[in-house]
Amino acid sequence: MNIALILAAGTGSRMGNADKPKQFLNVYNKPLLVHTVEIFEVNDDIEQIVIVTNKEYIDQVKVWCKQYDLTKVKNVVAGGDSRQISVYNGLKGIEVSKVKDDDIIVIHDAARPLVSQAIIKNNIEACKLYGAVDTVMPASDTIIRSIDKRVIKEIQNRSELFQGQTPQTFKFGIIKKAHEEAKKNNDTNTTDDCKLVIKSGVSVYLVQGSRLNFKITTFDDLMILKALLKIGKSEVL
């Protein structure tokens, strides 16, 4: 079984003065979260969806699932104070579906509404082979490392650098073990699941992402998304 775990528990603190977290902002009269979930809803390979969201939005998300006929959504669970806790809660939410260790969990940010069907498919296929995969893009800009934010400490070889996206996809047994070990070690604020999985001794393989699969983090990102959609709408006269 392939299950999508959609993370929609962010606070949107980098969205300026928006009155709600970015994943709930409307684009074409529909919350961004719904646009993202719809992509997984229509994916043949995905059998179930679990949404992790802010506690106060759980009822609202359930209403949207009904309103937009998101029939694959089987559970909506509350997130935590960090991404890591939110994913852990999501995994607990998946467990009620009698999930097996070999089942595949596709973890995706609700704020990446332009993830393609091909990326999801490639994640699942690679995960079947390797057990743990991350969606990445080769770094196109030079990455500068600075400790004091004033002086360059280091410039690494760009050909070895990649920018992480989502989905991050794991066999359930692997991701669950990684989270439980982290919890046992009081490690509760790791921002990336791959980091936890690597710490647990499992290699994480790379899957090619897409420039379009960008995360709506700031107001500028939202503007770029809307601009892309506006250009796409241009039809014949």
């Binding site: 229509v42 006929d69 069907q117 379009l212 959609l229 796409g232 014949v236 006269l237």
Partner: protein, 344 residues
Amino acid sequence: MFVVTYKVTAPGVLEEFVENLDAENKVLVSVDRMAICKADIRYFLGTRDKYILDHKYPLTPIHEAVGTVVKDPTHTFKVGDKVILIPNSIDESLCPTCPNRRCFESELGNNYCPYATFRSSNADGFLKNFYACDPTLLVKYDSKVSPDIAVYSELLSVAQAACRRINFAKAKNIALFGDGIMAYVVYLVLTYIYHVEITVFGISQDKLAMFKNATTTTYTAYNGPLFDTLIECVGGQFSENAINQMIDISQVGADLILMGVSESGANINTRKILEKGLSLKGVTRSTREDFEKISKALENESLQKAIQPMVLSVTKIKSINDIYHCYEEDINNKTIIGKNIMSF
């Protein structure tokens, strides 16, 4: 839901776009297979009048496609149903006040409606991974039929529309002019649906060899009887020559059915048309009924086998380069009857 679509923005230029797919109260279909038509190639190469092109671009191409139903709030289809996408839509609310009354005649059909929209011509086409439409713009086909075969439905439906113009009670001697893909699908419809014998006039012996159940010949070699029904599938710069040859070997009162598209006018022998009392009928596009007839006919395994050689390749679209590749292959293919099919 946001979907990726591709548009021709200028001659020879395809670009990737993102659009919001409005699927509310519509059937949502994942597009399985697409085929490039000659009209798509003309828009892609920009071989139409500049004024027309300026009004068309940017345009999502492709009007030959099949898909799978993903959601249907109208409850017309089941999830997983295989469907043919109909590219032409008619606004029937305009019919009561429209002066074109002959659309209601079944022989002609409403595919000639001047207010119709046609995908990849005056409306965006099917080159996108998901498509949403009214259920009347979809026709279910047997899931046992390969989508590589079913994607030829639109082309076959146009051939079927041409056959609607034939008076089979009177047609005893049918000639088909052309050895390209349109001629081949007309041959398929006449042979496997109407079960009539035809004579095919072409130039390329290799291509004519594909018309296995027909008599094939070249115009210069032919010295048989005259024909009462002649179908032109040549188009382009050679259509003028073909139409004049058809006029020459027509019986008195024969029907000439024209299907080939020519951007420049054809200088044809009107004296002989008058002398013989010939009727010229133009055929383009098809109606929903034509699609339904083709969908049923596709269940015939012999027809499926006869379509199979036209599937030259199936390319999975991973990037825009794959679409360019398919266009180039189809543009450069002058020798083999068939298309390079695209899939998502």
